[in-house]
Symmetry: C2
Subunit: 252 residues, 2 copies
């Protein structure tokens, strides 16, 4: 734990070379903090890569990798021949491979989940197609109603191949589906989402406390694990007055 304090244009960075956290990540984290706290103002230029690397006792590739993390997040912009600037401080976390449950927990809300139905069903055509199965094969079907406070927020319908996890033994009202899958060793690495809208059906409307035909925000998503296997397909409908998707795009 050899701490390393460096004096920079504004912020001081500390590096711990004995930590398992990669150096470039340590730098990126502290840079992000300095930007979010306003220590480095939007529009301001940061020192050039070579000087930064030298000041921190790092190589230039490592310094570049750290900066790249924030460029990918949309917080910094590089301009060849000019330098690297802060774009803007407040960045909404882009849509990630997290669940609504995670989102709300992070926001300090108290989400509650009601399991409407769970069991094995025969895969219909679209489900089978998304999960790379044959029509009629068994899949878990899980229907849940999500509340935030006392308000119903979303109707969620997930399909999961039976050989991925076992849903019988779990209390899904307490544990998020994704948390359960993670703890079962399922790592979701890539997901495809499709966001749209439609009018509420009679049953949905009833569940969400809306009228039939009321506008709903929909999201269908297929998640793949690190072997490329489809491990989850979900179709969800949200009350648009309570939920929206935010994302930050970066042109590279």
């Amino acid at each position: 734990m050899n701490g390393y304090i460096v004096r920079m244009p504004g912020p001081r960075f500390t590096l711990d070379r004995s930590s398992p956290v990669p150096l470039y990540f340590q730098v990126a984290e502290q840079f992000e903090q300095a930007i979010l706290s306003g220590e480095i103002a939007p529009g301001e230029r940061i020192d050039n890569e070579i000087a930064l690397a030298k000041d921190l006792g790092l190589s230039r590739p490592t310094m570049r990798q750290a900066i790249q993390v924030l460029v990918d997040k949309g917080m910094l912009v590089r301009k060849r021949g000019v330098g690297t600037q802060v774009v803007h401080g407040k960045i909404r976390r882009s849509v990630e491979l997290t669940s609504l449950f995670d989102d709300l927990s992070a926001a300090g809300q108290k989400p509650r989940t009601e399991v409407l139905a769970v069991g094995k069903v025969a895969a219909e055509e679209d489900v089978a197609h998304e999960l790379q199965l044959k029509v009629g094969e068994d899949v878990w079907s899980l229907e849940r109603l999500r509340y935030v406070g006392k308000q119903p927020l979303a109707v969620m319908h997930n399909f999961i191949p039976v050989d991925v996890v076992d849903l019988d033994a779990v209390d899904l009202a307490k544990t998020g589906l994704y948390a359960h899958m993670r703890s079962s060793g399922i790592l979701m690495r890539v997901a495809r989402q499709r966001i749209g809208a439609r009018g509420a059906g009679a049953e949905e409307a009833e569940l969400l406390g809306e009228k039939k035909g009321a506008p709903l925000l929909t999201m269908a998503r297929t998640a793949y694990d690190n072997a490329g296997r489809a491990v989850e397909y979900g179709r969800h409908a949200y009350r648009p007055d309570l939920y929206a998707f935010e994302l930050t795009l970066v042109d590279r």
Copy 2:
């Protein structure tokens, strides 16, 4: 014995070192092509980085950079100690810093645009806030109706600071707004989007050929140039039966 068959660059990649296109990008492009064409099947492992680099006469960092491009696109997945696999072939291009016009053009559709109104207006509070202006300052206001074929697809309302571009001299029915901004030297590098849904207002409904209260897919977006300046704020409403947002998420 090595019971598994490792896939080589069976397609011999061609590299042009005199080209201005970076080597890592040349490799990434050809790899992508091989994956999309099915030459390398989903789930298949590709050769390890060192062997690939050697075969192509590249250094390992360059090879890694090439692979990283496809990992970022969600086409490949790396597993330490194991190798790199193809996830799945058909990847929808993730939401990018392009416009609907670009999207439809790329899809071979023939989009048509009707300019409903264009002119300078005093910025209201939300517009001023998004564009980093003061309330009451002049901004361009541009309302358009987008058709695909004969069907109205979207109502688009854009706001642009007056010192960014001049909209008077342009035929916005023929030229996309973004294309015009690009040709004016405005480079959009970062954008924040918020996707939601709501019922159609009376005017919108009329324009889109829907009934009042019909579900619409909405997207609000603020774009920033490479100096961090807000250059565009737009509020758009889409007919959900004709349009949806697709994106691919990658966990890194």
